[in-house]
Symmetry: C2
């Protein structure tokens, strides 16, 4: 670990690749020989146009998107998408299916219903406190879309395989696992991801839209709430969040050129998660909170014997340069978020600390 | 001018204070001894809480806001506010007044009408291509609000004094001149400003709301489109644009501690604008495009004899390290944006170049 840096297990904003941070730092007063900071160059300049074009092209290559897809950058986080998705796609007496795997999908359902839209909860894991991903779901044949949350940062669950929705396009919140693995994009009509976990800083949401979905967007929506505005103006109807998009561009470059693509990234993520889960499963001091076949490779949630011990575990971890291990306030416990930028070295430092803590407190 | 830096006259994103950029650069791998970048720390951490609290407090001190006002940070730029303002404040058969000074106010009117809201254009300067700020406007007594754009970046006009709207709260788009001068905030019900001109990078809009305006917000709006959500959660219902807010905090600190407040900033801005306008008025080679009493202190728009000469002027400026002098594509001509962070040295470098260019081409 570089001097003065800590191991960062925060759920988001989260660790970014050190080489990306160093490149931003190095060029911060003079971006690409412009004589200006990336925060100072016009979004209408050649400098920024190269940035956003490169971010779009890298996204298409990494996710193997053909020309049926557009890559958009929208502000407001995934939460804004919870409201924009039904506003853009769901009209009249049409229905959308939602799978409720907790927290984020619950919020997405709420935002559709606030607008008076017809939502069908096709399946829910609420019965077991959202500790698993539902199986054998019956989706509605003529639904406009089927909404799922690929990874739940708070509950620590993840879809290991995406469901078969037939001809119904999947709308997927990939905020916490986008670019962490490869997948077939063809069943997806809309993918969105707040950047601040796997691909950048907070302040921008990447959205990937299949072009036929744009036909569903009503003309009369406010300009900034229409996907057609973003698609027709390359996300620059107004000034985009330039710094956040620039950071995404560098993270995607790192994924392609340093890691070697999503297949390689997926193997690294599997190795990190296996190292941590295997260690926890080898004893009973640390108890993973989710069912084994629903475990997230991104957010490893676990409990200790009692809350006082968990507090002690989190605080002593900070003294040992391991940051961000407290579970979300809505569920308590502990959580290690091990997104793309978290290295195996950091994960090993964590299990070393966990062993040491157990030996003192077990 | 520091080595490798240029004079930046971009309209936005625009120049930021060099000392702010240097502080960001210096701390970019280790923010405030966290061992993490500001882009990596949790928005729920003490580190970020200190940042947003300080940004709010400095805003209140600089603008002399009492506790009737709340300071919010919202994504989507001023354009998102064009739709959120009528959505939040204008209901039933109520009317809002809008003064149309071009571009931004024209768009604001459009976004209210898209939603079927009743808008009364109280005055417009369209008759002279928006080259002036209207006077002696009759506002509607019982309007919910009166919307104005304090400075038009594209047309180069600025309200030197705000209008008397009686008891009707002013809603003001201050995107391009917030924090450039002092004013009495009491007639204002809502002030908003995309950050990327005077107070930070793109990706965040500062909004200042008088608390009684929150009573107008309907309960049933989508969560991310309600000002009450932002006011009740200190702009952190979901992950805010942390880096942009952090940069704003540093710019406000610079305004208070290096410049000495808005009265001092206003004097500096007047001196810079006077230097440039006086030079242009002293000859007829460069022709200011706006009426004298409506001239912007932020965006100095001017024309040369013909478009070919303007193109030559802008291109040769770049060769002389003077960037961003091309007028907006919708109006053509030339424009020097001289926001807070643009120094008198840069303005003098510009007039030196203008003299030289005139001597060669006059």
């Amino acid at each position: 670990m570089k001097a003065n840096r800590v191991h960062n297990f925060s759920a988001g904003p989260a660790a970014l690749p050190l080489s990306v941070l160093e490149e931003i730092q190095e060029s911060f007063l003079n971006f690409n020989n412009s004589g200006m900071s990336i925060t100072e160059v016009s979004h209408r300049s050649k400098w920024f146009d190269d940035v956003i074009n490169d971010a779009i092209e890298r996204t298409k290559r990494l996710l193997k998107l053909d020309d049926n897809f557009e890559v958009l950058f929208i502000q407001g986080g995934a939460s804004m998408q919870f409201c924009m998705i039904p506003m853009n796609f769901l009209h009249g007496n049409k229905t959308a299916d939602y799978v409720d795997t907790g927290t984020w999908s619950t919020k997405a359902i709420k935002e559709a219903r606030i607008q008076g839209k017809t939502v069908h909860v096709a399946s829910s894991s609420e019965d077991k406190n959202y500790s698993y991903i539902p199986k054998d779901i019956e989706f509605t044949d003529n639904a406009v879309y089927a909404h799922i949350t690929s990874n739940n940062t708070i509950k620590g669950t993840q879809w290991s395989n995406f469901p078969d929705t037939g001809n119904v396009p999947i709308v997927c919140d990939m905020s916490s696992d986008i670019m962490s693995r490869s997948f077939d994009p063809s069943p997806f009509g809309f993918i969105f991801a707040g950047a601040q976990k796997n691909i950048g800083p907070s302040g921008v949401c990447m959205a990937i839209i299949r072009k036929d979905m744009l036909d569903l967007v009503p003309e009369e929506l406010p300009t900034m709430l229409k996907y057609t505005t973003f698609a027709s103006k390359k996300s620059m109807f107004n000034t985009p969040p330039c710094f956040a998009i620039y950071t995404i561009q560098l993270v995607l470059k790192w994924l392609e050129e340093s890691i070697g693509g999503l297949e390689k990234m997926e193997i690294l993520n599997q190795e990190k998660a296996r190292h941590l889960y295997d260690f926890m499963d080898s004893g009973d001091f640390y108890k993973a909170t989710t069912e084994k076949d629903s475990r997230s490779l991104m957010n490893v949630t676990f409990r200790l014997h009692d809350e006082a011990l968990e507090k002690h575990f989190v605080e002593e971890a900070i003294e040992n340069d391991l940051n961000g291990l407290k579970g979300h306030s809505s569920v308590g416990g502990c959580r290690a978020s091990i997104y793309n930028a978290t290295t195996m070295d950091s994960v090993k430092a964590l299990t070393d600390y966990m062993k040491h803590f157990e030996s003192k407190n077990g």
